[in-house]
């Protein structure tokens, strides 16, 4: 049954891609059918996911025809968990896509839908793969899909560089995975993932574990691999960003989860490194996000932050496994899984909503976008809910996940190794700091973009987010931000089934203290009931409101409308409203040594009709330290090496074959001496 559903899903996607490649976006149905196929296939995959979370583990052997070794496909609760997420998000993003692609000229040519469906298919196959070859093959297919999506709008400035960066980092990650897999399969004499289960721990398996972490981290954007996210995501067209950031990036996490289950306890240094780097990624990601001037870049940097947060949770799980504390491992992994869930729905909602807004306004410049909530109520609401979730505010699912994250880090005192304790405390401080900065960044987005003065432009509004499918898609993305939190106990039960594959038991279910109250796995540490907060906080709100209305004899409802207070003096020139740039200025000033922000005075020539002369504008720029201090020097060294190697480039075929022959001989000598 599951097999039939999966084949049907892949076939529907392939058919959709075929329609896109043959018919293209010129015809109306050619713009709609492929994304409709995306939704149908995703629904099937979601059904398979639910069935396999509730069912047992199945492994299908597809024989040796497709690859060097047996091609294996497996369905277990962990795979089911990620399939559910992929399928559910796929349905929502596809219906956003249909509504978005409906007006002509948004999608051009042939490749958009095909690349999108390729991404969906690759994600599904990665989650299903049970042998190294299939896993890597689908992984590379996903990299290709990302490259295709980011290079569709290659005529726009900066996009070409973004797509090369996406491809390059994807290849680095794939390379790390490949080397790690080769080490493991060399040890186990098999490419089947299940054969790696009981490998004895040795420096080789430790190195392989680290390489797998590097490979997956490159996909999700951990420092120093995060550089492709802020330019790569915005380069993709419309809702495809949601598919990349909210849906496809999850396979990186899936890989981490899967290999923790397969390889077991990691080396201690790896846990410490993941905790520290995860914390730094979270902080750096949101600090840079908060000062960006473009909407899509802010949202993309928030993905970097979330990758860091999730990796911190994963680091706690690694630390728990490495030091033999299954409870610590369970709470860390549960926190990280909840954060994945929160990030997936909220980020898809943010990018889905921003696609409509950007297409309507024609820009994603934060200084221009104002009051989008009034022009696009549905997109505005979805954007607001997504932002609340990403800022980790109650009562959204982001709040539950961040709470679990901090509680997981607080279990520091149960571990005895000083390095782990210190790095957990360090990560805790960084996670808390990035939470605070996330509030700063998202208040900026909601307060100045969704709310605020409504734009005076009078160009006709396109209400494409009121298309029923657009409303459905955005609703399916935004409402779970609240609903998942209200249903948190059930969510944890569902997650617990899947995580049992990794943790080797239903440890994560101890997070349920009673049916409606949560605790961080360890009893008597602390408690939280998001479901009851959903009851109590509205009651408190209603009480306060009705009490005030009654006390004021309904005078509360009668208000006077006046212009906002600006200053005691009149005649001050300049924009009334606080600008997004100004809002972030305090951060730019205080974190100047992290952000590398510099200010320079720029003289502006007075315009003829203005009697104000000699304005001085202040220009501020932000320097990404990883780019400035890691990639640029590396690039310089690389160029220097390339100039050196140019001398070897004689252009003679026999010389090249000679090099190859020498290389082969050296390789053979190395192999011979290694034995």
């Amino acid at each position: 049954m599951n097999g039939v559903l999966l084949i049907a899903a892949l076939a529907v996607w392939a058919a959709g891609a075929g329609v896109d490649l043959l018919v293209g976006a010129r015809r109306r149905w050619g713009r709609l059918a492929p994304y409709g196929a995306g939704a149908v296939g995703s629904a099937l995959v979601c059904a398979v996911g639910v069935r396999s979370v509730l069912g047992a583990r199945h492994v299908f052997d597809l024989g040796t025809t497709l690859a060097v070794d047996h091609t294996l496909v497996q369905l277990d609760p962990l795979a089911g968990l990620f399939l559910t997420l992929t399928g559910g998000l796929g349905v929502a993003i596809s219906s956003c896509f249909v509504a978005w692609a409906l007006p002509p000229d948004r999608v051009r040519g042939h490749a958009t839908a095909a690349a999108y469906l390729l991404v969906l298919g690759a994600v599904t196959v990665i989650v299903l793969a049970a042998d190294a070859f299939t896993f890597l093959f689908a992984w590379e297919a996903l990299t290709l899909g990302f490259y295709a999506l980011t290079s569709i709008q290659r005529r726009q400035p900066g996009t070409r560089r973004a797509s090369w960066l996406t491809l390059g980092i994807g290849k680095v990650g794939g390379g790390a995975l490949l080397i790690g897999f080769l080490l493991l399969s060399g040890k186990a004499h098999s490419t089947s993932l299940s054969a790696w289960h009981h490998l004895a721990h040795s420096p080789t398996t430790d190195a392989a574990f680290a390489l797998v972490v590097v490979g997956c981290a490159a996909k999700v954007g951990l420092v120093p691999f995060h550089v492709w996210l802020p330019s790569g995501y915005p380069a993709a067209p419309g809702p495809a960003r949601a598919a990349m950031a909210g849906l496809a990036a999850n396979v990186g996490f899936y890989g981490l989860w899967r290999f923790l289950g397969i390889l077991g306890a990691p080396p201690l240094w790896l846990a410490v490194a993941v905790l520290v780097i995860g914390g730094l990624t979270a902080f750096g990601g949101i600090a840079f996000g908060a000062v960006q001037g473009r909407l899509n870049r802010v949202v993309a940097y928030s993905s970097v932050e979330n990758a860091g947060l999730i990796l911190v949770g994963y680091g706690v799980a690694l630390a728990g496994e490495a030091t033999g504390h299954p409870g610590v491992a369970a709470v860390g992994l549960l926190a990280a899984s909840l954060q994945i869930l929160a990030h997936a729905v909220a980020k898809s909602a943010l990018f889905g909503a921003s696609a409509f807004v950007e297409s309507d306004f024609g820009t994603d410049d934060l200084e221009t976008l104002r009051g989008i909530g009034r022009r696009h109520p549905v997109s505005g609401a979805a954007f607001g809910l997504g932002s609340l979730t990403m800022a980790g505010l109650p009562p959204t699912i982001g709040f539950v996940s961040e709470w679990f994250m901090l509680e997981a880090l607080l279990q520091e005192f149960r571990v005895h190794q000083l390095a782990v304790r210190l790095s957990m405390a360090f990560a805790g401080a960084l996670v808390a700091l990035s939470l605070g900065l996330a509030a700063l960044a998202f208040i900026r987005l909601i307060g100045l973009t969704v709310l605020g003065r409504s734009p005076e432009t009078t160009h006709p509004r396109s209400a494409d987010d009121r298309n029923p499918l657009g409303v459905l898609g955005l609703g399916l993305l935004a409402l779970p931000c609240l609903a998942l939190s209200a249903a948190a106990p059930w969510v944890i039960r569902y997650l617990g089934r899947g995580l049992a594959v990794v943790l080797g038991g239903h440890t994560a279910l101890s997070a349920l203290r009673s049916p409606w109250v949560l605790q961080p796995v360890f009893p008597d540490f602390s408690i939280l009931s998001p479901s009851w907060l959903f009851v109590v906080m509205p009651i408190a709100f209603a009480t306060v409101t009705s009490a005030t209305v009654v006390l004021s004899r309904r005078g509360l409802l009668r208000v006077r409308r006046v212009p906002a207070w600006r200053s005691a003096t009149s005649g001050v020139a300049g924009a009334d409203e606080y600008s997004a740039f100004g809002y972030a200025n305090v951060l730019r000033h205080v974190l100047s040594n992290v952000l590398g922000s510099r200010r320079s005075l720029v003289h502006v020539e007075p315009e003829a009709d203005e009697d104000l002369h000699g304005h001085v504008a202040v220009e501020t720029m932000v320097v990404e330290p990883v780019l400035a201090y890691l990639y640029r020097p590396a690039r310089a060294v690389w160029l220097w090496l390339a100039t050196g190697t140019k001398r070897l480039q004689s252009g003679r075929l026999d010389a090249y074959v000679g090099y190859m022959l020498v290389a082969l001989l050296v390789l053979l000598v190395i192999v011979a001496t290694m034995r």
Partner: protein, 315 residues
Amino acid sequence: MPVVLQVLQSLTVLVGAPLYVGAISRAESIVASKRGPSVFQPYRDLAKLLRKGASVSDQASWVYAGAPFVVFACYLTVSVIVPIITSQPLPLAFLADLIGGAFVLGLAAFTMALAALDTASPQGGLGASRATWMGSLVEPALILVFFTVGVLSASDNPYLMNHAVRSSPYALVLPTHVLGTLAFFMLVLVENGRIPIENPSGSIEISMIEEGRVTEYSGRHYALMRWASWMKLFLLSSIFMNVFVIPWGLGNAHSLAGGLLAIPVLAGKLALCGLAIVVIDSSFAKLRFFRIAEFLGAAFLIALVGVITSYVVSV
């Protein structure tokens, strides 16, 4: 009986908060050799504001109008989960722990900042930007304080923490606890906009932080905002005294007499806390805005040293 106590606890916070603030400002005036307003002045302010109509910015949306109620509801929610008059959890205490409470307070701050930006007033934006930035620097120090709590009591639940300190008073003098307490007190000052962060009695446009966010509010909305901020001071001071400094003198969850008796005891504790605030308010100058980061950095460092000493000196 626990239900009655639950209501009593929230009422204590609601009614006690203006009195607490009034007492502090009276005491400050006396220290400054002035007579000062009556301790009941905040009640009169509230009564007057609640009778007055409101004027609202023409740019504001429903977010602005709803914000005071959300903020007030947040503080009301926190008042049911922390130990104010009893040392045992009341019926609704399972809602959240200290960190969960901090998140609810975070929602209040977030809502206030949004409302400030919603008015499209430059003052509001300024206040929102500054206050949120300060809030983000408070978070890491606060979480390290919770780390010190977790080390000492193996929990993050205020009731269990209170219990742990009561059962081994020796913990009160452990360096971890002392440093955590000190850091928490500094955070209470920052969160409530007291000296050395901000002058709570004056509002000068250019240096406004907390006041900047509510500068557009008037009438009943403003009354709720003021009341909510007083409740915040009351709540944080109570947590500080009941959990960190003097964990004794609380009633149990089953006797009304114990709960009623705990109220005067709480008043005594708050008098001590208020005295400390008055002394600081009167003897220090307000910090320059960008020096606030250093003040918070100091709180962070103190808490960090507290966590590190726990590796060496433990209970």
